[in-house]
Amino acid sequence: MSSPVLTRLLCRVAVLLWPAVPAAAQSRTGFVTGIVTDSVAGRPIADVQVVLDGTQFGAVTAEDGRYRIGNVPAGQYTASARRIGFAPASRPVTVVAGRGAAADFTLVARAAVLSEVVTVGYGTQRRADVTGSVASVSGEQFDREPVPSLGQALQGRAAGVQVTQNTGQPGGALQVRIRGGTSISAGNEPLYVIDGFPVYNNNNTASTRSSNPVNALAAINPDEIASIEILKDASSTAIYGARGANGVVLITTKRGQAGRSDIDVELFYGVQQVARELPLLNATEYARYVNEAHLNAGRPAPYTEAQIATMGAGTNWQDEIFRQAPIRNVQLGFRGGDAQTRYALSGGYYEQDGVVLGSSFDRASLRLNLDREVSRRLSIGNNLTLSRITSDVQPTSGTNDLQGLVASALFFAPTLPLRDSTGAYTYDNVTWGQSGGNPVAAARGLTDERVATRILGTVFADYALRRDLRLRTSFGVDNTQGQDQYYVPSSIFLGRGSRGAAQVGNVSSLTWLSENTATYSAVLGEQTLDVLGGITLQQDRTSRVVTNAQRFPNDITGVNDLGAAEVTLPSASNATGWGLLSYLARVNYNYADRYLLTATTRVDGSSRFGADHRYGFFPSASVAWRLNNEPFLRDARWLSDLKLRTSYGLTGNQEIGLYQSLPALGTSPYVIGNTAVVGYAPVRVANPDLRWETTRQLDVGLDVGLFGEALHLTADVYDKTTSDLLLNVPIPATSGYTTALRNVGRVRNRGFELAVDGDRRFGPVSWRANANLSVNRTKVLDLGGLPSFTTGSFSGAVSLPGIVRVEEGRPLGAFYGLRADGLFQTPEEVAASAQKNAKPGQIRYRDLNGDGVINNDDRTYIGNGFPDYIVGFGSTLTAWAFELSFLLQGSFGNEILNGTSFLSTYTANAVAVPSARARERWTGPGTSNTVPRADVTAARPLFADNVLEDGSYIRAKNIAVSYRLPAERVRAFRGTRNARIFASVQNAFTITDYTGYDPEVATRSQTLTPGVDFVAYPSARIYTLGLNLGL
């Protein structure tokens, strides 16, 4: 930070705080003042940029529409006023030394949405000219929300975008799907393009630890984002060729504006709490339940009545591991510039403790974006961000069995105290039920810290060879360094076997990008033509090292002295790399603003593809017809936009893994000379045919703008068919291999999207709202000869076969299991059933194939984890200085495998989870038809539809109120542009029938096994209070 700027900042803060500071002395210059109003109501307009053309002098209007440009040398000027949503205006003004000149403006509103510039691949376009399907989310929409990463910012805000959190762990991984998943075994995440730098979000580049992953994109500070564009159809994504099939998210960070010298301070502070706790049995109820489970099995009751009488409520282990956790964000930005140089320098610190003991996330980030017009022809600039994220992770989710922290808090007996009589933590769950460690001791003892440092920067130069021909070259680097430290002390249950286990991992990933493009623009009467061509190169190298050691004499040095360990386990390391060489071209043709055509192509050469298919060709074309500019509609004043558009094209998915086309040898040990020796043997056959997955997408869309853009509607239908799906298909085993990765399958996604934006003003009151609806249906068309396969099995204490079946002609995400048919009420019912060994009070399953046995052959389709439709509704109501905004977001028609419900029926080891559901258990004929009887000898429950629940929900994602300090008062503190205080509640409430922690959950991969909730880290409700200050 340069010292004059700092001085100015400190001065302004001081002025704001002590308004008695006298005004600065007059000089031999003049000033310009005025008010800007709108042409219809004559209302003042804030945030209008007023500049004296050809100078660096300028100012921005305050809430009352007034502005003041000081220290202007005397002379003749042209003053111009500009604001998005209004036609620019200018007028001459004469400045006399020592005096003020007045220059008032009246601006005419114009269709804001249409004149708005949107970022598209390798360029920008006017919204009106876009022929593809592009949704935009502006940074302002999530500015004041406590979102740790941009993925959360997208949720509910754009049609066709589904965001699912794997975990409530702050900064934890999430999954983003644009118009559904296209692939079964390759990646399904969209391509992120951050200020022109394409990034596939691979969390493995930030950490060597795969369990409870941290989102690598959390390194990008959402506060620095000016806008996000989501490219959905083939026309807009084909320019990203072999990476476009899953959609593209373009992120544009904030840059400086000429004529401004803004200083923005944003602060918020909040507290979080678990949005919902699960009702559990208290100690007394639990002891009685355990007794009953033993007596029902003919075993003696473990607790005596005298013991039970002293138990009371006992320990609620959820209360012990959940906490109220603080969240803080500080953001300081300097943005501005003159006609030739623009700057945006910002720094931020975001800190969020998790609601689960011992978990936290923080990010320190710095950004510098510069633009400089070196000459009329040459401009240069850069984007640079440095950030460091630190996560303290708790093993809460993704675990197959009951080892997770939240799971252990659920099954830990409420009869046990937090600490034993010696004051030490109760060691483990020794009474009844699942064995496991004290979750509080685990949360406090375990270290799982992951630090990722990311540098993402690009420098670019733009040169105008002729007025109509521009060349642009850029070079960028994305470097992530991840450091992981994991230590399980010998003092906790988890460390009892290893007697102290440490793991240290380092990962370093470096990607460079060189892009060289040329753009040509021509105007021929009513026709305009824009042509883009380019060559890009991108290369990555990632290396990893992981070391492990066990048996530490003590826990003092932990992970920081692996040498102290008695057992050093084998280290592992690897290095991988990939390269991409691409040629791209695009033609945009516009005839009379009525007929628009876009043709795009990209040729991608990728190192991942087999030698025989190294280059992929991805063409697309789209046309649009702006009917509102036709003569027959020109008089329809109420219609500001009516555009019919359609596109078709091919895009690819290159996330097929590395080196898959090459033959490989693997190692395995044998014993020779009474010692283990390493043998190398072929493990993969060369497959030079291996190539990308290809998605063909047809999109038909309609844009309608009504009443001067007071209402804007966008609707799209699409049909995406992905072919050449990579599948591991069976091959003759006489080859030495049983399967090979081949491009054989096909999957289809069809859907409908609707987005409506409205904007109304009633005097001092204005209302903005947007709603979106997305419907997507998947269907497996071809599995390359495999009739079907099941996936998503659980091992460990919860042992389940594949819970999801993928079958030709069926949708993805289909749960496959037994049908439960209530409980057996009487011995007669048991005798008449296919479960002769069952007892009354146990779950009855339907013998669907009628063979008199209940087994895997009785499974059928029992639900689907993908929603029928998802919705989002955002509203901002502004009245005088107050603003009330909220965002509702919901998902409908999806089923969730409720793991806690499953575990609460799991009474084999007495009680796996002492859920309060047990209060409604079966105790005799007619007492219950849902909750089985307590029985320690009961068989392990099977996967059936009784553990699926309707996962539909509607959630108030955010509710915020803010108050803008009165302009007069703010203006009194010299130069302060605005000041706003706000309060918000994130996850304010959720309407759902789902009984688990959170219906917005995916503890497993969203591609094939959506809607699985096996005791994930619960989400938090966040109350924040904040301040925005613009100087």
């Binding site: 100078t55 070079f475 020779i672 003759p732 006489t734």
Partner: protein, 500 residues
């Protein structure tokens, strides 16, 4: 004012500069082009070629002596896999014989009871496992031969791989009959649907591999190479192949070479054959190697061990009764000491006691380790087998001569038994040898093969299953296993064995 005019001057200057001095413009243009050009050309050519830094591929392997050793070790690896000469081998040789009852696993039990179909998880693993071994051998044979290294070592390594390929094919042909016979490494995904090769051609390939191995492999190795295939192993295996095919003359030649080498002799006690302390010694000709504390510890052998506990699984039980192995021993046979007898109180190494209700096999048991971390090698070929094969071959060629008696009696005396009744006829002697093979080589993977090659499989197994009241019928087609259905589904060139 001053500021504005300075700025104005500079703008004028720049405008003039761009308009008038082309060199300026060219310079920035050239700089731009150079940057773009250098970036585009410097690495274009090789950016798309994958450099597999952390994978081993044929392109960077098969270059040195060490690579040759590792490649051949990779062929041995398959030996110890569950699908190959490990648990499934035991199931498909002893489990399906009259020696062992299998208690768990629906598909395993169906094999034991001769009710198996072409959809069986054991067969589904065995077939790919053996062909994986074959492909590994083919890869080593093809590629090691091309490595520039010490020629003698290279020849030895290639022939170790040929020995192993012969062993894999020998089991395949005995179990499945005609089988596909790839003898080169699979290098591409095309042309994988291969037909079955007639049995005789498979045997010819097996014999050719073994003859090459006999010509090249050393008689012994230093202790650091213990476990590798020797000439004696190749000779013993070839003899077994020839005996299976009725080529007594050929088998006799190989067996006499093994006996005459003076390299092998029986351990003084039967227990020493299975003692961890005396592995890879005088009587052992070829063992599957296992080592505690390595990923190659043995686990499946504790399937024989009594109770299901940290020490064992108790899922392979010795048969009893008139057709059972436990009651097939003559009185005083010390070989019966390697059982835990029924109706005793057994005290396990952890000090726990429990009563036994039936006998358990104690041949393979490492008392020092958990059930999946056992040290025991598996004795696939040993000298007692050679002596008994020799007695059989001599009897077939010359009748029960002195040489035949001498061979079988060596084995009987070591077991603490008297000599075989002298003066037996040829058929009676044949029966005696087979009975001796059963008790001497019990649970070592010989029984089903012996019954099959002597034409006794159907009658013997029918009698045994009748004794168990299993209700199964053993039919001639049971002398071959079905080709796994999974394989037929993906390879239209294959045909199923009759009866399945």
């Amino acid at each position: 004012m001053r500021r504005a005019s300075r700025r104005h001057r500079r703008q004028l200057h720049l405008t003039r500069g761009i308009a008038m001095t082309c060199s300026n413009r060219r310079r920035s243009l050239v700089a731009l082009c150079l940057t773009a050009g250098v970036a585009a050309t410097s690495s274009c050519s090789d950016i798309l070629v994958e450099d597999p830094e952390s994978i081993v591929a044929p392109s960077n392997f098969y270059r040195t002596r060490e690579d040759a050793l590792a490649a051949v070790n990779g062929v041995y690896v398959e030996l110890g896999n569950r699908s190959t000469i490990n648990r499934h081998f035991t199931i498909m040789t002893d489990g399906v014989s009259d020696d062992v009852t299998i208690t768990t696993g629906a598909d395993r039990v169906s094999l034991d009871l001769y009710r198996h179909s072409a959809q069986n998880e054991v067969l589904d693993e065995v077939w790919p496992g053996y062909y994986r071994g074959v492909n590994r051998a083919n890869a080593a044979i093809d590629n090691v031969a091309r490595i520039d290294m010490d020629a003698a070592l290279r020849a030895r390594l290639v022939n170790e791989a040929r020995f192993l390929r012969a062993m894999y094919y020998f089991n395949l042909v005995r179990w499945f009959g005609d089988v596909p016979l790839p003898v080169t490494e699979t290098a591409s995904l095309s042309g994988l649907a291969v037909e079955r090769t007639p049995e005789a051609e498979v045997y010819a390939q097996v014999e050719a591999d073994l003859r090459a191995a006999i010509d090249t492999l050393p008689a012994t190795y230093p202790a650091t190479d213990a476990g590798r295939a020797t000439r004696g192993a190749a000779q013993t295996l070839l003899a077994k192949v020839q005996l299976t095919r009725g080529d007594y003359e050929g088998a006799r030649q190989q067996l006499e070479a093994v006996i005459g080498s003076g390299q092998y002799t029986l351990f003084p006690t039967y227990a020493a054959v299975f003692d961890i302390a005396t592995e890879n010694q005088v009587e052992h000709i070829f063992m599957i190697q296992h080592k505690q504390g390595t990923p190659r510890a043995a686990g499946y052998m504790t399937s024989y061990y009594p109770v299901q506990s940290t020490l064992g699984f108790a899922t392979f039980l010795p048969t009893t009764g008139p057709t059972g192995i436990y009651d097939a021993y003559e009185a005083g046979d010390t070989r019966k000491e390697l059982y835990i007898p029924p109706n005793v109180t057994y005290r396990d190494p952890l000090g726990r006691s429990f009563p036994t209700t039936q006998p358990y096999v104690l041949k393979y048991f490492d008392a020092d380790a958990s059930r999946s971390d056992q040290d025991n090698n598996f004795p696939l070929l040993r000298y007692a087998d050679v002596l008994l094969m020799y007695a059989e071959v001599v009897n077939e060629m010359d009748g029960p001569s002195g040489a035949a008696y001498a061979a079988i009696n060596q084995v009987r005396r070591r077991a603490g038994l008297g000599d075989l009744t002298p003066g037996l006829g040829k058929d009676a002697f044949r029966d005696a040898v087979l009975r001796e093979r059963r008790v001497e080589l019990a649970f070592e993977g010989h029984r089903w093969f012996d019954l099959k090659r002597t034409g006794r499989l159907i009658a013997t197994m029918q009698a045994h299953l009748d004794q168990l009241a299993a209700g199964s019928t053993v039919q001639p087609f049971h002398q071959l296993y079905p080709i796994p259905q999974r394989e037929l589904d993906v390879n239209p060139a294959l045909t199923q064995n009759p009866g399945y």
